[in-house]
Protein backbone atom coordinates (compact mmCIF):
# COMPACT_ATOMS: atom_id res chain seq x y z
CA UNK A 1 0.00 0.00 0.00
CA UNK A 2 1.31 3.45 -0.92
CA UNK A 3 2.12 5.71 2.00
CA UNK A 4 -0.80 7.86 3.16
CA UNK A 5 -0.60 10.58 5.80
CA UNK A 6 -3.62 12.42 7.14
CA UNK A 7 -2.88 15.80 8.68
CA UNK A 8 -5.60 17.34 10.84
CA UNK A 9 -5.43 21.11 10.68
CA UNK A 10 -7.45 23.91 12.21
CA UNK A 11 -8.45 27.38 11.11
CA UNK A 12 -7.81 29.43 14.25
CA UNK A 13 -9.03 32.85 15.31
CA UNK A 14 -6.30 35.48 15.13
CA UNK A 15 -7.61 37.99 17.66
CA UNK A 16 -10.37 38.02 20.25
CA UNK A 17 -10.10 41.43 21.91
CA UNK A 18 -13.05 40.90 24.29
CA UNK A 19 -12.69 37.15 24.64
CA UNK A 20 -14.88 36.58 21.60
CA UNK A 21 -13.25 36.20 18.21
CA UNK A 22 -15.19 36.68 15.01
CA UNK A 23 -14.81 33.84 12.53
CA UNK A 24 -14.37 36.12 9.54
CA UNK A 25 -11.87 35.34 6.77
CA UNK A 26 -9.60 38.19 7.83
CA UNK A 27 -9.67 37.10 11.48
CA UNK A 28 -8.84 33.47 10.71
CA UNK A 29 -5.65 31.69 9.76
CA UNK A 30 -4.12 28.25 9.59
CA UNK A 31 -3.01 27.30 13.10
CA UNK A 32 0.72 28.16 13.23
CA UNK A 33 1.36 24.90 15.12
CA UNK A 34 -0.04 22.97 12.14
CA UNK A 35 2.43 24.33 9.59
CA UNK A 36 5.40 22.27 10.89
CA UNK A 37 3.10 19.23 10.79
CA UNK A 38 2.39 19.75 7.11
CA UNK A 39 6.12 20.19 6.55
CA UNK A 40 6.89 16.92 8.38
CA UNK A 41 4.27 15.09 6.33
CA UNK A 42 5.55 16.57 3.06
CA UNK A 43 9.10 15.49 3.84
CA UNK A 44 7.97 11.94 4.59
CA UNK A 45 5.94 11.97 1.39
CA UNK A 46 8.95 13.18 -0.59
CA UNK A 47 10.99 10.29 0.82
CA UNK A 48 8.33 7.58 0.65
CA UNK A 49 6.00 8.68 -2.15
CA UNK A 50 2.26 8.33 -1.56
CA UNK A 51 -0.34 10.94 -0.70
CA UNK A 52 -1.12 13.53 1.91
CA UNK A 53 -4.66 14.38 2.98
CA UNK A 54 -5.44 17.56 4.92
CA UNK A 55 -8.52 17.33 7.10
CA UNK A 56 -10.20 20.14 8.97
CA UNK A 57 -13.36 20.50 11.00
CA UNK A 58 -14.81 23.98 11.20
CA UNK A 59 -16.99 26.57 9.52
CA UNK A 60 -16.72 27.47 5.85
CA UNK A 61 -13.90 29.95 6.53
CA UNK A 62 -11.65 26.94 7.21
CA UNK A 63 -11.42 26.44 3.44
CA UNK A 64 -8.68 29.11 3.36
CA UNK A 65 -6.57 27.00 5.74
CA UNK A 66 -7.14 23.91 3.62
CA UNK A 67 -6.22 25.86 0.48
CA UNK A 68 -2.97 26.80 2.19
CA UNK A 69 -2.32 23.11 2.86
CA UNK A 70 -2.94 22.37 -0.83
CA UNK A 71 -0.64 25.26 -1.79
CA UNK A 72 2.09 23.75 0.40
CA UNK A 73 1.73 20.40 -1.35
CA UNK A 74 -1.16 18.39 0.15
CA UNK A 75 -2.88 16.17 -2.42
CA UNK A 76 -6.38 16.15 -1.02
CA UNK A 77 -8.34 18.51 1.23
CA UNK A 78 -11.48 17.66 3.18
CA UNK A 79 -13.59 20.05 5.22
CA UNK A 80 -15.98 18.64 7.80
CA UNK A 81 -18.57 21.33 8.21
CA UNK A 82 -22.09 21.20 9.54
CA UNK A 83 -24.16 23.62 11.64
CA UNK A 84 -24.81 20.65 13.97
CA UNK A 85 -21.11 20.62 14.90
CA UNK A 86 -21.11 24.16 16.32
CA UNK A 87 -20.04 24.28 19.97
CA UNK A 88 -18.25 20.91 19.90
CA UNK A 89 -15.72 20.46 22.71
CA UNK A 90 -12.43 18.62 22.26
CA UNK A 91 -13.94 15.18 22.87
CA UNK A 92 -16.64 15.67 20.25
CA UNK A 93 -14.10 17.17 17.85
CA UNK A 94 -11.98 14.05 18.30
CA UNK A 95 -15.07 11.87 17.74
CA UNK A 96 -15.87 13.69 14.49
CA UNK A 97 -12.25 13.56 13.30
CA UNK A 98 -12.05 9.84 14.12
CA UNK A 99 -15.15 9.22 12.00
CA UNK A 100 -13.70 11.34 9.18
CA UNK A 101 -10.35 9.55 9.34
CA UNK A 102 -12.17 6.24 9.02
CA UNK A 103 -13.89 7.57 5.91
CA UNK A 104 -10.71 9.04 4.41
CA UNK A 105 -9.28 5.58 3.73
CA UNK A 106 -6.42 3.47 5.05
CA UNK A 107 -3.49 5.51 6.35
CA UNK A 108 -0.04 5.14 7.87
CA UNK A 109 0.29 8.29 9.93
CA UNK A 110 -2.30 10.58 11.46
CA UNK A 111 -0.63 13.85 12.34
CA UNK A 112 -1.64 16.82 14.49
CA UNK A 113 -0.17 20.06 15.71
CA UNK A 114 0.83 19.97 19.35
CA UNK A 115 -1.90 22.46 20.16
CA UNK A 116 -3.95 25.23 18.59
CA UNK A 117 -3.07 28.88 19.00
CA UNK A 118 -6.63 29.87 19.94
CA UNK A 119 -8.22 27.31 22.29
CA UNK A 120 -4.83 25.89 23.26
CA UNK A 121 -5.91 22.55 24.80
CA UNK A 122 -3.57 20.07 23.09
CA UNK A 123 -6.24 17.41 23.62
CA UNK A 124 -7.62 16.68 20.15
CA UNK A 125 -4.64 14.68 18.82
CA UNK A 126 -4.35 12.23 21.72
CA UNK A 127 -8.13 11.91 22.09
CA UNK A 128 -8.56 11.04 18.42
CA UNK A 129 -5.83 8.41 18.70
CA UNK A 130 -7.57 6.93 21.75
CA UNK A 131 -10.93 6.80 19.96
CA UNK A 132 -9.30 5.07 16.98
CA UNK A 133 -7.37 2.72 19.30
CA UNK A 134 -4.07 3.43 17.57
CA UNK A 135 -0.66 4.15 19.11
CA UNK A 136 0.18 7.77 19.92
CA UNK A 137 3.44 9.66 20.41
CA UNK A 138 3.38 13.35 21.34
CA UNK A 139 5.83 16.19 20.62
CA UNK A 140 7.77 14.39 17.88
CA UNK A 141 11.05 15.98 16.79
CA UNK A 142 12.03 13.61 14.00
CA UNK A 143 10.54 10.63 12.20
CA UNK A 144 11.67 8.28 9.49
CA UNK A 145 10.92 4.86 8.17
CA UNK A 146 13.40 2.00 8.36
CA UNK A 147 13.00 -1.39 6.74
CA UNK A 148 11.22 -2.73 9.78
CA UNK A 149 9.53 0.11 11.63
CA UNK A 150 8.83 3.81 11.94
CA UNK A 151 11.46 5.42 14.15
CA UNK A 152 10.10 8.33 16.11
CA UNK A 153 12.31 10.66 18.15
CA UNK A 154 10.85 12.83 20.84
CA UNK A 155 12.54 15.10 23.33
CA UNK A 156 11.84 14.77 27.01
CA UNK A 157 13.57 17.28 29.23
CA UNK A 158 17.27 16.67 28.56
CA UNK A 159 16.71 13.26 26.97
CA UNK A 160 15.73 12.19 23.51
CA UNK A 161 13.56 9.11 23.33
CA UNK A 162 13.55 6.78 20.35
CA UNK A 163 10.29 4.97 19.73
CA UNK A 164 9.50 2.21 17.30
CA UNK A 165 5.89 2.45 16.30
CA UNK A 166 3.65 0.25 14.23
CA UNK A 167 1.27 1.91 11.84
CA UNK A 168 -1.31 3.22 11.66
CA UNK A 169 -0.16 5.59 14.38
CA UNK A 170 -1.01 9.10 15.53
CA UNK A 171 1.65 11.74 16.29
CA UNK A 172 1.78 15.35 17.34
CA UNK A 173 4.74 17.24 15.90
CA UNK A 174 6.92 19.55 17.98
CA UNK A 175 6.43 23.12 16.67
CA UNK A 176 10.16 23.76 16.26
CA UNK A 177 10.97 20.45 14.61
CA UNK A 178 10.13 21.11 10.97
CA UNK A 179 10.35 24.77 9.89
CA UNK A 180 7.64 25.06 7.24
CA UNK A 181 8.67 25.74 3.65
CA UNK A 182 7.68 29.04 2.06
CA UNK A 183 4.73 28.69 -0.29
CA UNK A 184 5.28 29.31 -4.00
CA UNK A 185 2.94 31.70 -5.80
CA UNK A 186 2.12 28.96 -8.26
CA UNK A 187 1.13 26.68 -5.39
CA UNK A 188 -1.49 29.23 -4.29
CA UNK A 189 -2.72 29.57 -7.88
CA UNK A 190 -3.02 25.82 -8.33
CA UNK A 191 -4.73 25.33 -4.96
CA UNK A 192 -7.55 27.59 -6.07
CA UNK A 193 -7.60 26.95 -9.81
CA UNK A 194 -7.37 23.18 -9.84
CA UNK A 195 -7.50 22.14 -6.17
CA UNK A 196 -10.74 20.77 -4.79
CA UNK A 197 -11.97 20.92 -1.22
CA UNK A 198 -14.41 18.11 -0.43
CA UNK A 199 -17.04 18.94 2.16
CA UNK A 200 -18.50 16.32 4.47
CA UNK A 201 -21.41 16.85 6.86
CA UNK A 202 -22.28 15.03 10.10
CA UNK A 203 -24.65 12.72 8.22
CA UNK A 204 -21.87 11.69 5.81
CA UNK A 205 -19.93 10.47 8.84
CA UNK A 206 -22.91 8.63 10.34
CA UNK A 207 -23.00 10.99 13.33
CA UNK A 208 -26.28 11.90 14.95
CA UNK A 209 -26.99 15.51 15.83
CA UNK A 210 -27.40 14.90 19.58
CA UNK A 211 -23.97 13.23 19.79
CA UNK A 212 -22.11 16.18 18.33
CA UNK A 213 -21.97 19.96 18.70
CA UNK A 214 -22.85 21.57 21.97
CA UNK A 215 -25.53 18.93 22.64
CA UNK A 216 -23.02 16.08 22.62
CA UNK A 217 -20.21 17.87 24.46
CA UNK A 218 -19.59 16.95 28.09
CA UNK A 219 -17.48 20.07 28.74
CA UNK A 220 -18.23 23.71 28.19
CA UNK A 221 -16.29 26.92 28.66
CA UNK A 222 -18.69 28.96 30.77
CA UNK A 223 -16.72 32.11 31.32
CA UNK A 224 -13.53 33.97 30.52
CA UNK A 225 -11.84 36.68 32.43
CA UNK A 226 -8.77 38.67 31.53
CA UNK A 227 -5.97 38.05 34.02
CA UNK A 228 -4.95 41.33 35.60
CA UNK A 229 -1.30 41.52 36.56
CA UNK A 230 -0.30 43.99 39.19
CA UNK A 231 2.91 45.77 38.23
CA UNK A 232 5.15 47.49 40.72
CA UNK A 233 7.96 49.88 40.02
CA UNK A 234 10.91 49.99 42.40
CA UNK A 235 13.29 52.90 41.91
CA UNK A 236 16.90 52.17 42.89
CA UNK A 237 19.16 55.02 43.83
CA UNK A 238 22.86 55.57 44.39
CA UNK A 239 25.96 54.83 42.33
CA UNK A 240 25.62 52.35 39.44
CA UNK A 241 27.51 49.61 41.30
CA UNK A 242 25.33 49.88 44.38
CA UNK A 243 22.22 49.92 42.16
CA UNK A 244 23.40 46.71 40.48
CA UNK A 245 24.07 45.11 43.88
CA UNK A 246 20.65 46.16 45.12
CA UNK A 247 19.00 44.82 41.95
CA UNK A 248 20.74 41.43 42.23
CA UNK A 249 19.86 41.26 45.92
CA UNK A 250 16.22 42.08 45.16
CA UNK A 251 15.97 39.55 42.31
CA UNK A 252 17.65 36.96 44.55
CA UNK A 253 15.05 37.43 47.24
CA UNK A 254 12.32 37.02 44.61
CA UNK A 255 13.98 33.80 43.48
CA UNK A 256 14.53 35.14 39.96
CA UNK A 257 18.32 34.71 40.16
CA UNK A 258 20.58 32.69 42.42
CA UNK A 259 21.71 34.90 45.29
Amino acid sequence: MAFHAIVCIKSVIRAAPDGVGLRTPDNSELNPFDRPVLEAALRVKEAEGGTLTALSMGPDVSKDALAEALAMGADRAVLISDPALAGSDTLVTARVLAAAVARAGAFDLLLFGIRSSDSDTGQVGPQTAALLSIPFVGGVKRLHKTDTAWEIHRKMDEWEELWHVTTPAALTIHPGAYPPRPIALRGVAEAFDSGEIETWGAADLGLEADHVGQAGSPTRVTGMEMIQRERKCLMLEGEPQSQVDALIDHLGRLGAVES
Binding site: D26, A71, P182, I183, L185
Partner: protein, 380 residues
Protein backbone atom coordinates in the same frame (compact mmCIF):
# COMPACT_ATOMS: atom_id res chain seq x y z
CA UNK B 1 -12.99 43.99 7.51
CA UNK B 2 -13.59 42.32 4.16
CA UNK B 3 -11.81 44.11 1.36
CA UNK B 4 -13.55 44.66 -1.95
CA UNK B 5 -11.74 43.39 -5.08
CA UNK B 6 -10.08 40.57 -3.09
CA UNK B 7 -11.23 36.94 -3.08
CA UNK B 8 -10.11 34.04 -0.91
CA UNK B 9 -7.21 33.24 -3.26
CA UNK B 10 -5.95 36.78 -2.79
CA UNK B 11 -6.28 36.52 0.99
CA UNK B 12 -4.28 33.31 1.14
CA UNK B 13 -1.72 34.77 -1.24
CA UNK B 14 -1.30 37.86 0.95
CA UNK B 15 -0.79 35.73 4.03
CA UNK B 16 1.81 33.48 2.41
CA UNK B 17 3.74 36.40 0.87
CA UNK B 18 3.67 38.31 4.14
CA UNK B 19 4.99 35.29 6.04
CA UNK B 20 7.84 34.87 3.56
CA UNK B 21 8.77 38.56 3.57
CA UNK B 22 8.71 38.90 7.34
CA UNK B 23 10.85 35.81 7.73
CA UNK B 24 13.36 36.35 4.94
CA UNK B 25 13.46 40.09 4.24
CA UNK B 26 12.45 41.47 7.64
CA UNK B 27 15.71 40.66 9.43
CA UNK B 28 17.89 42.18 6.66
CA UNK B 29 15.75 45.10 5.39
CA UNK B 30 17.58 47.76 7.43
CA UNK B 31 21.01 46.26 6.74
CA UNK B 32 20.63 46.04 2.94
CA UNK B 33 19.49 49.67 2.94
CA UNK B 34 22.44 50.76 5.08
CA UNK B 35 24.98 48.81 3.04
CA UNK B 36 23.26 49.44 -0.32
CA UNK B 37 23.44 45.69 -0.91
CA UNK B 38 21.34 43.67 -3.34
CA UNK B 39 20.34 40.57 -1.33
CA UNK B 40 21.02 37.78 -3.80
CA UNK B 41 20.35 35.14 -1.14
CA UNK B 42 16.70 36.22 -0.86
CA UNK B 43 16.38 37.09 -4.55
CA UNK B 44 17.19 33.50 -5.46
CA UNK B 45 14.52 32.23 -3.10
CA UNK B 46 12.02 34.70 -4.52
CA UNK B 47 12.87 33.44 -7.99
CA UNK B 48 12.13 29.84 -7.02
CA UNK B 49 8.82 30.91 -5.45
CA UNK B 50 7.63 32.74 -8.58
CA UNK B 51 8.00 36.37 -7.46
CA UNK B 52 9.79 37.29 -10.69
CA UNK B 53 7.05 35.95 -12.95
CA UNK B 54 3.89 36.81 -11.05
CA UNK B 55 1.64 37.23 -14.09
CA UNK B 56 3.66 35.28 -16.65
CA UNK B 57 1.87 32.18 -17.95
CA UNK B 58 2.79 28.93 -16.24
CA UNK B 59 3.96 27.41 -19.55
CA UNK B 60 6.63 30.14 -19.65
CA UNK B 61 7.69 29.47 -16.08
CA UNK B 62 5.49 32.07 -14.38
CA UNK B 63 2.93 31.84 -11.60
CA UNK B 64 0.01 32.70 -13.89
CA UNK B 65 -1.67 35.05 -11.41
CA UNK B 66 -3.84 38.12 -12.04
CA UNK B 67 -3.08 41.83 -11.60
CA UNK B 68 -4.69 42.00 -8.15
CA UNK B 69 -2.27 39.25 -7.06
CA UNK B 70 0.60 41.19 -8.60
CA UNK B 71 -0.38 44.26 -6.55
CA UNK B 72 -0.61 42.14 -3.40
CA UNK B 73 2.90 40.74 -3.87
CA UNK B 74 4.39 44.19 -4.55
CA UNK B 75 2.55 45.72 -1.57
CA UNK B 76 3.65 42.99 0.82
CA UNK B 77 7.29 42.95 -0.32
CA UNK B 78 7.42 46.77 -0.16
CA UNK B 79 5.88 46.76 3.32
CA UNK B 80 9.08 45.04 4.45
CA UNK B 81 11.64 46.25 1.89
CA UNK B 82 10.62 48.90 -0.64
CA UNK B 83 13.92 48.40 -2.50
CA UNK B 84 12.97 44.83 -3.25
CA UNK B 85 9.40 45.84 -4.08
CA UNK B 86 10.92 48.18 -6.64
CA UNK B 87 13.09 45.44 -8.09
CA UNK B 88 10.06 43.16 -8.53
CA UNK B 89 7.73 45.86 -9.80
CA UNK B 90 10.11 47.01 -12.52
CA UNK B 91 11.15 43.49 -13.47
CA UNK B 92 7.58 42.18 -13.71
CA UNK B 93 5.78 45.12 -15.22
CA UNK B 94 8.14 47.07 -17.43
CA UNK B 95 10.63 44.38 -18.46
CA UNK B 96 8.81 41.02 -18.56
CA UNK B 97 5.31 42.35 -19.30
CA UNK B 98 6.23 44.18 -22.56
CA UNK B 99 7.98 41.02 -23.77
CA UNK B 100 4.78 39.07 -23.09
CA UNK B 101 2.61 41.77 -24.66
CA UNK B 102 4.67 42.72 -27.70
CA UNK B 103 7.23 39.94 -28.13
CA UNK B 104 6.96 37.30 -30.84
CA UNK B 105 6.40 33.69 -29.74
CA UNK B 106 10.08 33.08 -30.35
CA UNK B 107 11.14 36.09 -28.27
CA UNK B 108 8.83 35.03 -25.46
CA UNK B 109 10.32 31.53 -25.46
CA UNK B 110 13.81 32.99 -25.41
CA UNK B 111 13.48 35.62 -22.69
CA UNK B 112 10.36 34.98 -20.62
CA UNK B 113 11.33 31.72 -18.84
CA UNK B 114 14.64 32.92 -17.35
CA UNK B 115 13.03 36.24 -16.41
CA UNK B 116 9.93 34.60 -14.89
CA UNK B 117 12.07 32.26 -12.79
CA UNK B 118 14.32 35.09 -11.60
CA UNK B 119 17.36 33.47 -13.23
CA UNK B 120 17.80 36.70 -15.17
CA UNK B 121 16.77 40.16 -14.08
CA UNK B 122 15.15 42.70 -16.35
CA UNK B 123 15.44 46.47 -16.71
CA UNK B 124 13.68 49.24 -18.60
CA UNK B 125 16.06 51.77 -20.14
CA UNK B 126 14.18 54.86 -21.25
CA UNK B 127 15.47 57.78 -19.17
CA UNK B 128 18.47 59.77 -20.40
CA UNK B 129 20.21 62.78 -18.89
CA UNK B 130 18.02 65.09 -20.99
CA UNK B 131 14.92 62.94 -21.43
CA UNK B 132 12.76 61.91 -18.49
CA UNK B 133 9.17 63.09 -18.39
CA UNK B 134 9.55 63.86 -22.12
CA UNK B 135 10.54 60.47 -23.56
CA UNK B 136 10.12 61.73 -27.13
CA UNK B 137 13.36 63.65 -26.75
CA UNK B 138 15.71 60.70 -26.28
CA UNK B 139 18.88 60.71 -28.34
CA UNK B 140 19.87 57.01 -28.18
CA UNK B 141 20.11 55.42 -31.60
CA UNK B 142 19.80 51.87 -32.93
CA UNK B 143 20.72 52.15 -36.57
CA UNK B 144 20.06 49.25 -38.94
CA UNK B 145 23.22 47.63 -40.32
CA UNK B 146 22.66 44.33 -42.13
CA UNK B 147 21.18 41.80 -39.71
CA UNK B 148 21.91 44.03 -36.72
CA UNK B 149 21.15 47.33 -35.08
CA UNK B 150 24.16 49.32 -33.97
CA UNK B 151 23.09 50.76 -30.64
CA UNK B 152 24.54 53.86 -29.02
CA UNK B 153 22.73 54.80 -25.83
CA UNK B 154 23.48 56.57 -22.57
CA UNK B 155 20.75 55.61 -20.14
CA UNK B 156 20.61 56.85 -16.56
CA UNK B 157 18.76 56.03 -13.34
CA UNK B 158 18.10 52.47 -14.51
CA UNK B 159 16.34 50.52 -11.76
CA UNK B 160 17.99 47.07 -11.36
CA UNK B 161 20.74 48.45 -13.67
CA UNK B 162 23.62 46.96 -11.69
CA UNK B 163 22.20 43.43 -11.86
CA UNK B 164 20.09 43.42 -15.02
CA UNK B 165 20.75 40.80 -17.69
CA UNK B 166 17.98 41.67 -20.15
CA UNK B 167 17.41 45.35 -20.89
CA UNK B 168 14.71 47.03 -22.93
CA UNK B 169 16.52 49.89 -24.66
CA UNK B 170 14.50 52.76 -26.10
CA UNK B 171 16.35 54.16 -29.10
CA UNK B 172 15.79 55.88 -32.42
CA UNK B 173 15.86 53.39 -35.29
CA UNK B 174 14.90 56.22 -37.67
CA UNK B 175 16.41 59.48 -36.43
CA UNK B 176 14.47 61.48 -39.03
CA UNK B 177 11.03 60.22 -37.93
CA UNK B 178 10.72 62.10 -34.63
CA UNK B 179 8.58 60.33 -32.00
CA UNK B 180 7.59 57.73 -34.60
CA UNK B 181 11.21 56.74 -35.08
CA UNK B 182 11.61 55.39 -31.55
CA UNK B 183 11.77 51.60 -31.09
CA UNK B 184 12.56 49.10 -28.35
CA UNK B 185 15.47 46.70 -28.80
CA UNK B 186 16.39 44.08 -26.23
CA UNK B 187 20.06 44.11 -25.27
CA UNK B 188 21.67 41.45 -23.14
CA UNK B 189 24.51 42.12 -20.78
CA UNK B 190 27.74 40.26 -21.33
CA UNK B 191 29.49 42.00 -24.23
CA UNK B 192 32.15 44.69 -23.85
CA UNK B 193 30.00 47.23 -25.69
CA UNK B 194 27.38 46.95 -22.91
CA UNK B 195 28.76 48.99 -20.02
CA UNK B 196 27.17 49.19 -16.58
CA UNK B 197 28.03 52.47 -14.84
CA UNK B 198 28.56 53.14 -11.16
CA UNK B 199 25.63 52.66 -8.82
CA UNK B 200 23.76 55.84 -7.96
CA UNK B 201 24.12 57.08 -4.39
CA UNK B 202 20.42 57.61 -3.76
CA UNK B 203 18.35 59.03 -0.91
CA UNK B 204 16.17 55.92 -0.63
CA UNK B 205 15.64 52.52 -2.31
CA UNK B 206 19.29 51.98 -1.54
CA UNK B 207 19.26 48.19 -1.79
CA UNK B 208 18.27 48.48 -5.42
CA UNK B 209 21.32 48.77 -7.69
CA UNK B 210 20.14 51.77 -9.71
CA UNK B 211 22.84 52.63 -12.25
CA UNK B 212 23.54 54.09 -15.64
CA UNK B 213 23.88 51.79 -18.65
CA UNK B 214 25.84 52.75 -21.72
CA UNK B 215 25.88 50.95 -25.04
CA UNK B 216 28.73 51.93 -27.36
CA UNK B 217 28.50 50.66 -30.96
CA UNK B 218 26.80 47.62 -29.50
CA UNK B 219 25.58 45.23 -32.23
CA UNK B 220 22.17 43.81 -31.37
CA UNK B 221 20.54 41.25 -33.72
CA UNK B 222 17.54 42.58 -35.62
CA UNK B 223 15.57 39.71 -34.11
CA UNK B 224 15.79 41.58 -30.78
CA UNK B 225 13.44 44.33 -31.97
CA UNK B 226 10.38 44.27 -29.72
CA UNK B 227 7.17 44.91 -31.65
CA UNK B 228 7.72 46.91 -34.83
CA UNK B 229 10.03 49.78 -35.72
CA UNK B 230 8.55 53.04 -34.47
CA UNK B 231 6.37 51.33 -31.86
CA UNK B 232 8.72 52.29 -29.01
CA UNK B 233 6.70 54.97 -27.28
CA UNK B 234 3.49 52.94 -27.53
CA UNK B 235 5.26 49.99 -25.88
CA UNK B 236 6.69 52.31 -23.23
CA UNK B 237 3.31 53.82 -22.41
CA UNK B 238 1.61 50.40 -22.25
CA UNK B 239 4.35 49.15 -19.93
CA UNK B 240 4.14 52.24 -17.75
CA UNK B 241 0.35 51.90 -17.49
CA UNK B 242 0.73 48.55 -15.77
CA UNK B 243 3.93 49.64 -14.04
CA UNK B 244 1.96 52.38 -12.33
CA UNK B 245 -0.16 49.80 -10.55
CA UNK B 246 3.05 48.25 -9.25
CA UNK B 247 4.50 51.53 -8.04
CA UNK B 248 1.15 52.48 -6.49
CA UNK B 249 1.17 49.13 -4.66
CA UNK B 250 4.74 49.80 -3.60
CA UNK B 251 3.79 53.20 -2.17
CA UNK B 252 0.87 51.55 -0.41
CA UNK B 253 3.20 48.97 1.16
CA UNK B 254 5.50 51.71 2.49
CA UNK B 255 2.51 53.65 3.84
CA UNK B 256 1.09 50.54 5.50
CA UNK B 257 4.41 49.81 7.22
CA UNK B 258 4.61 53.42 8.42
CA UNK B 259 1.09 53.28 9.82
CA UNK B 260 1.91 50.08 11.71
CA UNK B 261 5.12 51.55 13.13
CA UNK B 262 3.34 54.80 14.03
CA UNK B 263 0.62 52.93 15.92
CA UNK B 264 3.13 50.68 17.66
CA UNK B 265 5.28 53.58 18.81
CA UNK B 266 2.28 55.70 19.86
CA UNK B 267 1.11 52.92 22.14
CA UNK B 268 4.52 52.27 23.61
CA UNK B 269 6.13 55.69 24.06
CA UNK B 270 5.05 57.64 27.14
CA UNK B 271 5.15 61.41 27.51
CA UNK B 272 3.40 63.55 30.14
CA UNK B 273 2.66 60.36 32.08
CA UNK B 274 0.58 58.62 29.42
CA UNK B 275 1.23 56.79 26.13
CA UNK B 276 1.42 59.05 23.08
CA UNK B 277 -1.75 57.35 21.83
CA UNK B 278 -3.69 59.07 24.63
CA UNK B 279 -2.80 62.50 23.28
CA UNK B 280 -5.37 63.90 20.91
CA UNK B 281 -2.74 65.44 18.63
CA UNK B 282 -1.30 61.98 17.99
CA UNK B 283 -4.76 60.45 17.58
CA UNK B 284 -5.49 62.96 14.81
CA UNK B 285 -2.31 61.92 13.02
CA UNK B 286 -3.11 58.22 13.32
CA UNK B 287 -6.64 58.83 12.03
CA UNK B 288 -5.31 60.70 9.00
CA UNK B 289 -2.70 58.02 8.32
CA UNK B 290 -5.21 55.17 8.54
CA UNK B 291 -7.65 56.97 6.26
CA UNK B 292 -5.01 57.77 3.65
CA UNK B 293 -3.76 54.19 3.65
CA UNK B 294 -7.27 52.83 3.32
CA UNK B 295 -8.16 55.18 0.45
CA UNK B 296 -4.91 54.34 -1.33
CA UNK B 297 -5.62 50.63 -0.90
CA UNK B 298 -9.09 50.95 -2.44
CA UNK B 299 -7.65 52.82 -5.44
CA UNK B 300 -4.73 50.44 -6.00
CA UNK B 301 -6.87 47.32 -5.93
CA UNK B 302 -9.62 48.92 -7.98
CA UNK B 303 -7.08 49.75 -10.70
CA UNK B 304 -5.79 46.16 -10.64
CA UNK B 305 -9.36 44.83 -10.66
CA UNK B 306 -10.31 47.01 -13.63
CA UNK B 307 -7.27 45.74 -15.55
CA UNK B 308 -8.20 42.13 -14.74
CA UNK B 309 -11.73 42.83 -15.98
CA UNK B 310 -10.27 43.68 -19.38
CA UNK B 311 -11.51 47.26 -19.28
CA UNK B 312 -9.40 50.36 -20.00
CA UNK B 313 -7.46 51.03 -16.83
CA UNK B 314 -5.11 53.94 -17.63
CA UNK B 315 -7.17 56.46 -15.66
CA UNK B 316 -7.64 54.18 -12.64
CA UNK B 317 -3.92 53.29 -12.65
CA UNK B 318 -2.81 56.92 -12.96
CA UNK B 319 -5.15 58.02 -10.15
CA UNK B 320 -4.00 55.15 -7.94
CA UNK B 321 -0.32 55.93 -8.55
CA UNK B 322 -0.80 59.65 -7.95
CA UNK B 323 -2.83 59.20 -4.79
CA UNK B 324 -0.87 56.30 -3.27
CA UNK B 325 2.51 57.97 -3.78
CA UNK B 326 1.32 61.29 -2.34
CA UNK B 327 -0.29 59.37 0.54
CA UNK B 328 2.94 57.45 1.17
CA UNK B 329 4.86 60.71 1.54
CA UNK B 330 2.22 62.18 3.85
CA UNK B 331 1.94 59.03 5.98
CA UNK B 332 5.69 58.46 6.32
CA UNK B 333 6.06 62.13 7.27
CA UNK B 334 3.50 61.72 10.06
CA UNK B 335 5.13 58.47 11.20
CA UNK B 336 8.43 60.32 11.59
CA UNK B 337 6.63 63.11 13.45
CA UNK B 338 5.08 60.65 15.91
CA UNK B 339 8.54 59.23 16.58
CA UNK B 340 9.93 62.70 17.30
CA UNK B 341 13.72 62.86 17.30
CA UNK B 342 14.00 59.08 17.09
CA UNK B 343 12.10 59.13 13.82
CA UNK B 344 14.98 61.11 12.32
CA UNK B 345 17.43 58.41 13.39
CA UNK B 346 18.48 55.39 11.34
CA UNK B 347 17.82 53.33 14.45
CA UNK B 348 14.11 53.43 13.60
CA UNK B 349 12.52 51.99 10.47
CA UNK B 350 10.36 55.05 9.79
CA UNK B 351 13.48 56.98 8.77
CA UNK B 352 13.97 54.48 5.92
CA UNK B 353 10.29 54.55 4.99
CA UNK B 354 10.44 58.34 4.80
CA UNK B 355 13.38 58.23 2.39
CA UNK B 356 11.93 55.36 0.35
CA UNK B 357 8.53 57.00 -0.07
CA UNK B 358 9.83 60.17 -1.68
CA UNK B 359 10.77 58.71 -5.04
CA UNK B 360 7.37 57.11 -5.58
CA UNK B 361 6.15 60.59 -6.55
CA UNK B 362 8.91 60.83 -9.14
CA UNK B 363 9.50 57.56 -10.97
CA UNK B 364 7.23 55.76 -13.42
CA UNK B 365 5.86 59.23 -14.18
CA UNK B 366 5.97 62.15 -11.77
CA UNK B 367 2.86 63.28 -9.90
CA UNK B 368 2.66 66.17 -12.34
CA UNK B 369 2.76 63.89 -15.40
CA UNK B 370 0.05 61.80 -13.76
CA UNK B 371 -2.12 64.88 -13.31
CA UNK B 372 -1.65 65.56 -17.03
CA UNK B 373 -2.69 62.00 -17.86
CA UNK B 374 -5.71 62.19 -15.55
CA UNK B 375 -6.79 65.59 -16.85
CA UNK B 376 -6.43 64.32 -20.41
CA UNK B 377 -8.65 61.32 -19.64
CA UNK B 378 -11.25 63.41 -17.84
CA UNK B 379 -11.35 66.32 -20.28
CA UNK B 380 -10.92 64.20 -23.40
Amino acid sequence: MTEPFLNSKHRVLRRTVRAFCEQELGPIAAEIDREARFPWEVVEKMGRLGYFGIQAPTELGGAGLDTVSYAIVIEEVSRVSASMGLCLSVHNSVALYPILMFGSVEQQRQWAPPLAKGEKIGAFCLTEPNAGSDPGSITATALPDGDHFVVNAGKVLVTNGGVADICLIFARTDPQAGRKGISVVVAERGVPEFVVGDLEDLCGMRANPVSSIRLVDCRVPKGNLLGTQGQGLAIGLAALDTGRIGIAAQALGIAQASLEEGVRYARQRRQFGVPLSKHQAIQMMIADMATQVDAARMMVYRAAFVKDSGEPFSLAAAQAKLFASEAACAVTDLAVQIHGGYGYSKAYAVERYYRDARVTRIYEGTSEIHRMVIAGEVLG
